[in-house]
């Protein structure tokens, strides 16, 4: 069935179809609508979820951790500072191997306070042990929520999943999307039947030990192995999902990459803009292509290296500033992934779109223009730059 939904409503609707056991709910722009929509489903008896209206995101994630450990399926939604407030508990969730589903509606982190989109919130949590899957549009936001539980709950994975979409651009824009029938969703998701949980009557369980140096490292290695195992499971779930939806997903999307010489690597809604620019350049005879990263954790390093192997120049576009003075987080991952190639493309990093700064097709075309020069001259300096900001002179 086709429907006109905002990204937030699409995510809330997916959660309604899943009918999770517990939801931790706390408002923050731009994700607020998700718990609001869900509250209406609760009020109308369309779900029988235990809807816990906590006093902070810290408690929201605490509730999810506890509920999931108790044997229940738990979900939540947040953005920006809300995710930052959860930070400590993101690690607890992942290390306790609790497959919670969290919808992150990406928004810039304070300060200064800003409610618009960039990826600084979820990028800050990239090393917390959560699987991270990013959406380009409303359809993907909806689909990613449906795939989260089959991925995270698999015994060899057992990791929490953060599905991300761009604040306002995706969360508030209304698009036509295809929804699955609720029965099909329920069948796809299945029942949550963990092997061990707090409320298992015949076998009490203790979760969250003080872990001394004699054991801690083994537990971390197990967690690292689980993240490695997640990659295959993500592809398996995508294949199963394609069977019921007709929509195909991978670790990333390659757009006109077959013979591409110049390529962009980026995340999220900017892919739509970039695709339009690529089409225009292709029409002009430029061999341009795009890689849209869908799965950032686990990072598809080897696969990405294979895809970019034949290109001559690549611009990695980060929608968050890592303040490493050496480029953004996507750039660091991508450059590292390409290191093992015998012949590497030239690589630059462009940080863009911070705090909702718009990016247009002309901007993307300019990036490709620079890549075309680099492909000829080999001159990548300066490797790491920002795009879209006014110059100091303009500000004065």
């Amino acid at each position: 069935m086709s429907n006109r939904l905002s990204g937030n409503e699409a995510v809330a609707y997916a959660m309604k179809q899943i009918n999770p056991d517990v939801m931790g709910a706390f408002p923050i722009t731009p994700s607020t609508e998700i718990p609001e929509y869900f509250a209406n489903y609760v009020a109308d008896g369309e779900v029988n979820t235990e809807y816990v209206t906590v006093e902070s995101e810290h408690s929201s994630m605490s509730v999810c951790i506890a509920a999931q450990a108790a044997g229940a399926r738990s979900v939540s939604a947040t953005s920006s500072c809300g995710l930052a407030l959860m930070y400590e508990l993101l690690y607890v969730a992942a290390s306790s191997r609790l497959p919670i589903t969290l919808a992150c509606v990406n928004r810039a982190l304070t300060g200064p306070i800003n409610i618009n989109n960039d990826h600084s919130d979820s990028m800050g949590a990239r090393d917390s042990g959560w699987i991270q899957i990013y959406a380009e549009n409303n359809q993907e936001a909806y689909d990613n929520i449906l795939m989260a539980m089959p991925i995270g709950e698999t015994p060899q994975v057992r990791l929490p999943v953060m599905t991300c979409m761009d604040g306002f651009i995706t969360s508030h824009a209304v698009e036509n999307i295809e929804l699955l029938e609720t029965n099909a969703v329920r069948k796809f998701i299945g029942e949550y039947n963990p092997e061990n949980y707090l409320l298992k009557r015949e076998n009490p369980l203790a979760v969250g030990p003080y872990d001394v140096s004699a054991y801690y490292m083994e537990h971390k290695v197990l967690q690292a192995e689980a993240m490695k195992a997640a990659k295959a499971r993500i592809l398996e779930v995508a294949a199963e999902f394609e069977k019921i939806s007709g929509r195909r997903y991978g670790l990333f999307e390659e757009y006109r990459m077959e013979d591409a010489e110049l390529a962009l690597v980026l995340i999220g809604s900017s892919a739509g803009t970039a695709k339009a620019a690529v089409d225009q350049l292709r029409a002009d005879g430029v061999k341009a292509g795009l890689v849209k990263i869908r799965v950032f954790r686990p990072f598809p390093g080897e696969e990405l290296a294979r895809t970019l192997a034949g290109t001559r120049a690549v611009a990695v576009m980060d929608k968050s500033e890592g303040f490493s003075a050496n480029g953004g987080p996507l750039f660091a991952e991508t450059r590292s992934a390409l290191y093992d190639l015998k012949e590497r493309p030239y690589l630059i990093n462009i940080v863009y779109g911070l705090g909702g700064r718009d990016v247009k097709t002309e901007d993307i075309e300019k990036v490709f223009g620079r890549l075309a020069d680099i492909a000829v001259t080999g001159e990548t300096h300066p490797v790491y730059t920002h795009m879209g900001q006014r110059s100091k002179e303009e500000i004065v």
Partner: protein, 312 residues
């Protein structure tokens, strides 16, 4: 409580906090926890939640747990939210026919995890009305990190962040009245107790808290031999002194009705409690008599106020 208290019968129940945990000898926490868990009916199960604390690191060090019941520790400041999450899961799974039987939800946290860093989480969970018991084992400082002051530390007490020096005379502020703040949440049951005598007061209040529907709060005095600086064998005696000096009065508030649980036959001078512990030693130096007077005045004031509340 419906049944007559019988210590012998209670201690014959199977233990729910086993021995062999790593709490110090002379620590009140283990006594408090086993005392509260003993109030559970034998056939009922519990999920025990801990804030990060001495208790947590001493009773669940991987791969050993001291608890016979299911147990969850997540972080320092979120034990109330955590307990509410388990309760929410129970309600959801019960509704969906996925769990059976009665399960009770009990959180234990120290005063640092309750009066201070966990205060927001506690207030939120109480306001939401989860069917749970929150137990603060109050040892009046951050003991797990090495005796730093909390908002529960009493006036003049020496801690590692309120040291006694040429100018400093211990903590400058009085103890926060958390029990009264919890009363202001209008929850069904709030009580203050301590492990003294035959444990009847602690047991009865724990039973009431566990078997009263809705959020219930127990504040239980839990002396710490390291932080309070007393010989471990004096635990019971010092706890009793706290009660008999009215430093730690025993009372309960059920559906808004205050009741005094214990009136000392002879209200002892506060100095007797203070003298029993090294953390107050400087108060007994010549010239510091005013400190003892001030401490006495404060306790008297609080006691009078409590008598007004309880109509005793």
């Amino acid at each position: 409580m419906s049944r007559v208290y019988n210590l012998k019968r209670e201690v014959e129940k199977p233990v729910r906090l086993t021995g062999g945990h790593r709490l110090c000898a002379g620590c009140g926490a283990g006594v408090v926890v086993s005392g509260v868990l003993r109030a559970l009916d034998k056939e009922d199960r519990a999920v025990v939640v801990n804030a990060t604390s001495c208790l947590e690191v001493s009773t669940f060090m991987y791969p050993y747990t001291a608890y016979m019941d299911s147990y969850l520790h997540s972080a320092f400041e979120n034990s109330a939210a955590t307990c509410s999450g388990v309760e929410a899961a129970y309600n959801a799974l019960k509704r969906r026919g996925k769990v059976e039987g009665t399960v009770k939800f009990i959180t234990f946290a120290g005063d640092g995890g309750t009066y201070d860093i966990g205060f927001q989480s506690l207030s939120g969970a109480m306001e939401r009305g989860h069917d749970m018991v929150y137990v603060c084992y109050d040892n009046e400082a951050y003991m797990n990190t090495g005796i730093q002051r909390s908002s529960s530390t009493p006036l003049f007490a020496r801690t590692t962040t309120t040291p006694v020096g040429t100018v400093g005379q211990g903590k400058k502020q009085n103890k926060k009245d958390l029990t009264e703040i919890l009363v202001a949440h209008n929850i069904p049951y709030v009580a203050q107790t301590a492990p003294i005598g035959n444990f009847k007061d602690l047991h009865t209040k724990a039973y009431n808290a566990i078997y009263t529907e809705g959020p219930c709060f127990l504040n239980i005095l839990s002396p710490c031999p390291r932080g309070w600086d007393y010989p471990m064998e004096r635990l019971a005696e010092i706890t009793k002194l706290a009660v008999d000096t009215c430093v730690w009065p025993l009372f309960e508030v059920e559906e808004g009705v205050w009741r005094l649980s214990y009136t000392p036959k002879k209200k002892l001078p506060v100095a007797e409690f203070l003298r029993s512990q090294g953390r107050f030693r400087h108060m007994f130096q010549k010239g510091n008599e005013w400190m003892i007077e001030e401490a006495q005045q404060y306790v008297d004031q609080k006691w009078e106020r409590l008598l007004e509340h309880t109509g005793a």
